[in-house]
C-alpha cells in the first residue's frame, strides 16, 4: 500500500547533499583533517608539480627512459601491475554471474569499482608515459594499426573500461536517485558482465603477448611462448588476492557504511576466495615449470637472475600456495588475508621482473627509474586511493540500496511503503 506522506522540502543544496554528504562546507573541511589526508596531501603537493613538469618538459627531462629502455616504471607498475590487480572485477563478475556463486555478491560491487578505477588509472599512467598523449584515441578512431599487439591492447582497455563503467553505472544512478534509468542500466549490466569477462581473458593475455615480440630482450627464464597464458592465469590470482585485501581494508575503513543486517560473513567469503587462489597458484607454479622446461633453461637457475627467478617462484608463488591452503584448512581468515597481501606483492614483483628486471637483462645500459618517475607513480596510486574513498563514501558500494526508500525524500515528494 502506498500513501503520500506530507513532508517539507529540506533546504539542502544538491552539492551539499551529494558531494558534501549533508555537511556544511566548514563541517566537511573539518572532517578532512586526518593523518591519511595529510600524507596524501604531501604526496599530491610534490607529485602534481612533477607530473606538470613531465608534460611541460617532456619524457627526456623527467625520466631515465631511453631508446634502449623505452618502457620503465610507469609501464611496469602503473600499467602492467595495475591491470593485473584490477582483475578482481572480472574474476568476481565471472564467479557471481557466470558460475552462479551468489554468496560472493557482497564483494562484487567493490571489486568492480576497484577494477574500474584500476583501469582508469592505468590509462592515466599510460597518458603520462606516452610521448604524444593526445594521440591516445588514435588506435580506436583514426589509425587502427591492426597488425600490432598494441591494437589489441588499446581496444581491449578502451572497451573494458567502457564495460566496467556500465557495470558500475547502477551505483552511480542510485547515488543520483535516478531509479528509472537505473532499471535500464541493470539490464545492460548482465550483457556488460558477459562481454567484460571475454574482454578480460583476451587482454590480460594480450599484455603478456606484448613481450612475445621481444624474445631476445627478455631473460630466457621469464620469456616463454606461454607468456600470454602466464599473464592470464596470474591475473586470476591477482584478482582473487586483491579482492581479499580490498574487502579487508574497506570493511575496516568504511565500517560505518555497512548497515545492520547487511553484515556479511566476510570471513567465509575470504576463505572461499583463498581456497580458489591456492588452487590457481598451485596450477600456475606447474605452468611456470613447464615454461622453464620448454626453453630448456634449467642451467640459468644458478645465475644471479636465476636466483631472483627462484625467489619469485618459491617466495611469491609456492609459499602463498601453501599459506592459503593452510589458512583455509585452519579456517583462519586473518591468515588468508596476510597471504593475499604477500601474493599481491608477488604479482607486482612478477610484472616488474618481466618489464624491467629481466627486460634488456643483457644490455650494457641498465634502466633505473628517476625520482620523478617514482614520485609520479606514487602520486597516481594516491589519487586512485582518494578517488576510491570519495566514491565509497557517497555511492552505495558497500551498503545496500533500497529502491523504495532511495534518496528522494530530499526533494520533498516522498512515497512511503
Amino acid at each position: 500500500m502506498n500513501e503520500t506522506v506530507p513532508s517539507a522540502r529540506v533546504a539542502l543544496s544538491w552539492p551539499r547533499e551529494k558531494l558534501l554528504m549533508g555537511l556544511s562546507p566548514r563541517e566537511y573541511l573539518s572532517t578532512l583533517v586526518t593523518p591519511f589526508n595529510f600524507v596524501a596531501g604531501l604526496i599530491l603537493l610534490v607529485g602534481l608539480p612533477v607530473i606538470a613538469y613531465r608534460f611541460a618538459f617532456g619524457l627526456g627531462a623527467a625520466t631515465n627512459l631511453t631508446q634502449v629502455n623505452p618502457w620503465g616504471l610507469w609501464i611496469g607498475l602503473d600499467v602492467l601491475s595495475g591491470v593485473a590487480l584490477a582483475a578482481g572485477g572480472y574474476v568476481l563478475a565471472c564467479t557471481v554471474h557466470i558460475f552462479g556463486l551468489k554468496q560472493y555478491y557482497p564483494v562484487l560491487r567493490p571489486a568492480i569499482l576497484t577494477g574500474l578505477l584500476g583501469y582508469f588509472f592505468v590509462v592515466i599512467g599510460l597518458m603520462v608515459d606516452l610521448g604524444r598523449p593526445w594521440r591516445i584515441p588514435y588506435p580506436v578512431i583514426y589509425s587502427y594499426g591492426v597488425t600490432s599487439v598494441m591494437f589489441l591492447v588499446a581496444w581491449h582497455v578502451f572497451l573494458y573500461l567502457t564495460v566496467q563503467f556500465v557495470e558500475f553505472c547502477p551505483a552511480v544512478l542510485e547515488w543520483l536517485g535516478w531509479s528509472q534509468v537505473r532499471r535500464w542500466a541493470l539490464k545492460l549490466t548482465i550483457a556488460a558482465t558477459a562481454f567484460g569477462v571475454i574482454l578480460s581473458t583476451l587482454h590480460q593475455s594480450a599484455l603478456g603477448a606484448l613481450f612475445l615480440m621481444a624474445p631476445t630482450k627478455l631473460h630466457p627464464l621469464w620469456y616463454s611462448p606461454f607468456l600470454p597464458i602466464f599473464f592470464f592465469i596470474s591475473s586470476i590470482i591477482a584478482g582473487l588476492s586483491m579482492v581479499i585485501v580490498e574487502s579487508m581494508l574497506s570493511h575496516k575503513i568504511f565500517h560505518d557504511q555497512v548497515g545492520p543486517g547487511e553484515d556479511v560473513d566476510l570471513d567465509a567469503i575470504t576463505l572461499g576466495l583463498g581456497k580458489a587462489a591456492s588452487v590457481v597458484l598451485f596450477t600456475y607454479f606447474f605452468l611456470k615449470l613447464l615454461g622453464v622446461a620448454d626453453g630448456g633453461h634449467w642451467h640459468l637457475l644458478t645465475t644471479s637472475l636465476g636466483h631472483w627467478f627462484l625467489v619469485e617462484m618459491l617466495v611469491f608463488v609456492l609459499l602463498p600456495t601453501f599459506l592459503f591452503a593452510h589458512g583455509v584448512r585452519e579456517g583462519s581468515a586473518t591468515f588468508v588475508r596476510g597471504t593475499a597481501v604477500l601474493t599481491v606483492v608477488g604479482i607486482v614483483v612478477n610484472r616488474l621482473n618481466v618489464s624491467l628486471v629481466a627486460f634488456n637483462w643483457n644490455a650494457a645500459e641498465r634502466y633505473i627509474p628517476s625520482w620523478m618517475e617514482i614520485v609520479t607513480s606514487i602520486t597516481i596510486i594516491a589519487i586512485g586511493l582518494l578517488t576510491f574513498r570519495w566514491v565509497v563514501n557517497r555511492m552505495p558500494v558497500l551498503r545496500e540500496y533500497r529502491e523504495d526508500q532511495g534518496v528522494r525524500e530530499f526533494t520533498g515528494e516522498r512515497r512511503a511503503r
Partner: protein, 232 residues
C-alpha cells in the same frame, strides 16, 4: 632458427610430460589438504546456535534495523535519511493509544532525548529519538489513527523520517543484529520479573503477549511501567 636439435627437443618434451603428470598426481593430495577444513564446530554448539537463531522471543527484532534501548528503531534509507519508529515491544507494552504526538517537519531531534509522546487516558509517555537530526517527514496516518492492531510497526507504522548528519556516530550508539536480539532477551527477562499472577495466559505459559501489557500489569500506573522500559 630453432635453438633445439632433435634429441634436446625430445628430452625437453619428456620433462614437460613429467611435470604435467607430477601436477596431476600432486593435485590430488593438495586438493584433499585444501578442501578438508580442520575447524568444524561441535555438533552441540551448532545445534544450540541454530536453536538460538530461531528464538526471537515474542517480539520481532528485524536484523536489518538499529534499536535504541528506549525501544525506538531506526532504518537507514540511503544517504543520511533515517526512518524511525517505536519497536514491537513498545507497541505491545502500551497497546492502543489515543494519539501519538509527533514533532513537526523541520523540528530538530536529538539522540536519547524526547522524540515523540504516546497519549492515552489523560496520561502521556515520552519516547526517545534514536538519532540526531532534522525531521523531514512524519507519518500522519500512524499518528492520527495510532491503533496498533494490524499495523506493522516496522513498515507502515513508522513515525518519522529524520535527516541525520551524524549518522555514523549515531549508529555506533545503537544496537543491531545479534546484539539487539540479546538486548531484547534481557528486556523480556525484565518484563517477566514484573508479571503479576492475574495477567492471564501470556507467553510464560505458552501464549502470545497481549497488546497493552502494561495496562494489564497495573491499570493505574501503566505509564510508570512504560517509562521504566522507555528510559524516560
Amino acid at each position: 632458427m630453432m635453438p633445439h636439435d632433435l634429441p634436446t627437443m625430445y628430452s625437453a618434451k619428456a620433462v614437460e610430460y613429467l611435470i604435467a603428470v607430477a601436477f596431476l598426481l600432486l593435485f590430488i593430495p593438495f586438493w584433499r589438504f585444501v578442501d578438508r577444513e580442520r575447524v568444524t564446530a561441535p555438533v552441540a554448539v551448532t545445534t544450540a546456535r541454530r536453536w538460538l537463531g530461531q528464538v526471537v522471543d515474542w517480539f520481532a527484532v528485524p536484523s536489518d534495523l538499529y534499536f535504541h534501548p528506549g525501544h525506538a528503531w531506526a532504518r537507514v534509507d540511503g544517504g543520511d535519511v533515517v526512518t524511525v519508529g517505536m519497536d514491537d515491544f513498545a507497541q505491545k507494552l502500551v497497546g492502543g493509544v489515543s494519539a501519538i504526538a509527533l514533532p513537526e517537519v523541520g523540528a530538530r531531534v536529538r539522540q536519547g532525548e524526547r522524540g515523540w509522546s504516546l497519549v492515552y487516558d489523560s496520561k502521556s509517555v515520552d519516547m526517545l529519538s534514536p538519532v540526531d537530526g532534522t525531521v523531514v517527514a512524519v507519518n500522519e496516518q500512524a499518528a492520527g489513527s495510532p491503533r496498533p492492531s494490524g499495523r506493522d510497526v516496522y513498515g507502515d507504522g513508522w513515525l518519522l523520517k529524520v535527516k541525520a548528519p551524524r549518522l555514523a556516530a549515531n549508529t555506533k550508539q545503537l544496537l543491531s543484529g545479534p546484539v539487539a536480539k540479546r538486548w531484547m532477551e534481557g528486556v523480556c527477562d525484565a518484563l517477566r520479573a514484573r508479571m503479576s499472577p492475574d495477567l492471564g495466559l501470556v507467553y510464560q505459559d505458552g501464549g502470545l503477549p497481549v497488546e497493552g501489557m502494561a495496562r494489564d500489569l497495573d491499570p493505574a500506573n501503566w505509564d510508570e511501567i512504560a517509562r521504566a522500559f522507555f528510559l524516560t
